[in-house]
């Protein structure tokens, strides 16, 4: 090998190993006692069962999994519905005024969530929605990013299909439901992954509006056991694995679509 080639392999290899190392170490640490984890033990130990038991005692896993599933699932369905309708509407029915509205939406892409958080919290408090699923889901439903993603994808939707369906007597809504949705299923699949992951992993907003353990999401539960000054690291590693496993699984099952989905928005 040429020196340049060795250098390139060395660099990429180093980054790749470093990228994977925390995953491996997380799995190893889950089998060790907290004291061993803090001491940096790199060999698997015999504490896995104890750590799992400790985690299950500290966190009501079925409960938080259910909360996460409801919040991420309902949130994803709503976001996709609203955003696909909007993306389709903006692309298929052009008018000068709607183009201006769309340009306005693009400006909203750069509004930081930190600036919305306090009014949203006050709004939820007034609506008596604090500590409810709705409070977590509602502000996340309309996403400028996902609307933009659907509009970009809709550019590839053949207009002739819509014209043909119209001649067959379908209404605009029927065309959307029975022609557009099936044709664009790979776009929907990619968007599902992005939105589901974002909801599943969301931390700050659920932290603000969810206040009791029985409403916590898995992400929140893992963060809350991990945040103490003398945390039980063995237990925490089990939690980190539980929080990572679902998204890791989605990644391995749908790797191609996953990456496509991320990129779709910038094409």
């Amino acid at each position: 090998m040429k020196p340049v080639s060795i250098l390139r392999h060395g660099f990429v290899g180093l980054v790749a190993v470093w990228s994977v190392f925390p995953f491996v170490w997380m799995a190893v640490a889950a089998t060790n006692s907290s004291a061993d984890v803090i001491k940096g033990r790199t060999l698997p130990g015999g504490y896995l069962i104890e750590n799992i038991q400790a985690f299950m005692t500290a966190v009501d896993l079925p409960r938080v999994l259910w909360n996460s599933a409801i919040i991420s699932g309902v949130g994803t369905v709503l976001t996709l519905t609203v955003s696909a309708l909007a993306g389709y509407g903006f692309e298929m029915f052009r008018s000068r005024f709607r183009e201006r509205v769309f340009a306005g939406l693009m400006l909203m892409l750069s509004i930081p969530f930190a600036a919305l958080m306090i009014p949203l919290f006050v709004m939820m408090a007034k609506a008596k929605l604090i500590n409810s699923y709705s409070a977590v889901i509602l502000p996340m439903v309309a996403s400028v990013f996902v609307i933009f993603y659907f509009r970009q994808a809709t550019k590839a939707f053949p207009r002739e299909l819509r014209d043909a369906a119209k001649i067959d007597g379908l209404s605009e809504w029927q065309i959307f439901a029975f022609v557009y949705v099936p044709v664009m299923r790979s776009t929907f699949a990619a968007a599902t992954i992005i939105v589901f992951m974002a909801n599943w992993n969301n931390y700050l907003w659920p932290l603000v509006v969810l206040q009791t353990n029985d409403k916590f999401t898995l992400t929140l539960a893992v963060a809350s056991v991990g945040i103490g000054y003398t945390p039980d690291y063995g237990l925490i590693m089990v939690g980190a694995i539980a929080a990572t496993l679902p998204t890791l699984l989605i990644f391995f099952l749908l790797q191609r679509r996953f990456v496509e989905g991320m990129l779709g928005a910038v094409k």
């Binding site: 790749a16 984890v37 919290f121 991990g226 945040i227 990572t244």
Partner: protein
């Protein structure tokens, strides 16, 4: 009748976009205006009254705010360039069709992107303890004699946050670059290669200019993300030691939801982020356009 069709089209068009517009109005436009209004109000909890520019004056004398601002800008200025350059170099190497193992490497480097910020932050926290696995490795390699005080020293705590964010997001940016590189017509490279243009010149003169839009895109999203940094410092270092890793978002959270809430002042701090995001986005677009000429 043409006008009838057009009107029906218009109504259907609004019908499709209306649910999104209503939701954005309620959960985005109203809150952003509301926090602008709140930023002129003073008081504790829900008892707010108009305070004019008192909050803005308070910013200038608030040492914690100034520290959080400095930390956030420091993370931005140091971390974003490191991450984007690394991502770009990785993409350039992995885009080479003859590079062995490129698909495996690509998957490995992308892997951090699937973790939740909360989960990886607690894992990093355990890895970087005083007697932890990272310090063991550093001492074994004789890079450090006694181990690095990651959590207790202000400088190293900042380094730790930068290491963590870079770990999580480099692969994410790399994927954008790879996709953009794959869209570049290979025959251009062939022609340049035959003309004897060296590798690095091909990269800087051919690849980089064509990558400008995607580099701009990643710079803008990374800037917005870093200015809102919350999860990692909150879970890794809790903003410490002595506020060395406190960010603006964390300060807003603390002002609003810990101790006695000062929503008005917190809203003022949040508008600092809004202004920074707006300003930097404009600057970045300006730079990109200027360089294009």
């Amino acid at each position: 009748m043409a006008s009838g069709v057009a009107r029906r089209e218009g109504i259907a068009g609004w019908g499709f976009v209306m649910p999104a517009l209503v939701l954005l109005g309620v959960f985005m436009i109203y809150p952003i205006l509301s926090s602008l209004w709140m930023s002129f109000q003073v008081g504790k909890g829900m008892n707010l009254q108009f305070g004019g520019f008192r909050n803005i004056a308070r910013l200038a004398g608030d040492a914690v705010f100034l520290k959080a601002l400095a930390n956030t800008l420091l993370f931005l200025v140091i971390q974003v360039p490191i991450m984007l350059v690394t991502g770009l170099v990785l993409a350039a190497i992995l885009n080479d069709q003859t590079f062995r193992g490129r698909t495996v490497y690509r998957a490995m480097i992308f892997l951090p992107c699937v973790t939740s910020l909360a989960a990886y932050s607690v894992v990093f926290k355990a890895m970087f303890t005083a007697d932890g696995v990272i310090n063991h490795v550093l001492m074994a390699l004789h890079l450090s004699d006694t181990g690095v005080p990651w959590m207790t020293d202000p400088f190293w705590a900042r380094v730790l946050v930068i290491i963590a964010i870079t770990w999580r997001w480099t692969g994410y940016n790399m994927v954008f670059y790879l996709a953009a590189m794959q869209n570049i017509d290979r025959s251009i490279y062939e022609a340049a290669r035959i003309d004897g243009v060296p590798v690095w010149a091909r990269f800087s003169r051919l690849t980089l200019p064509m990558m400008k839009p995607v580099i701009l895109f990643t710079t803008v999203i990374s800037t917005i993300g870093t200015l809102q940094l919350f999860d990692e410092p909150n879970l890794l270092t809790r903003g410490g030691p002595s506020d060395a890793t406190l960010t603006l978002s964390m300060y807003i959270y603390k002002l609003s939801f810990q101790f006695m809430p000062s929503f008005g002042y917190a809203a003022t701090v949040s508008y600092v982020i809004v202004l920074l995001v707006g300003l930097l986005t404009v600057v970045q677009f300006f730079f990109a356009r200027d360089r294009l000429k």
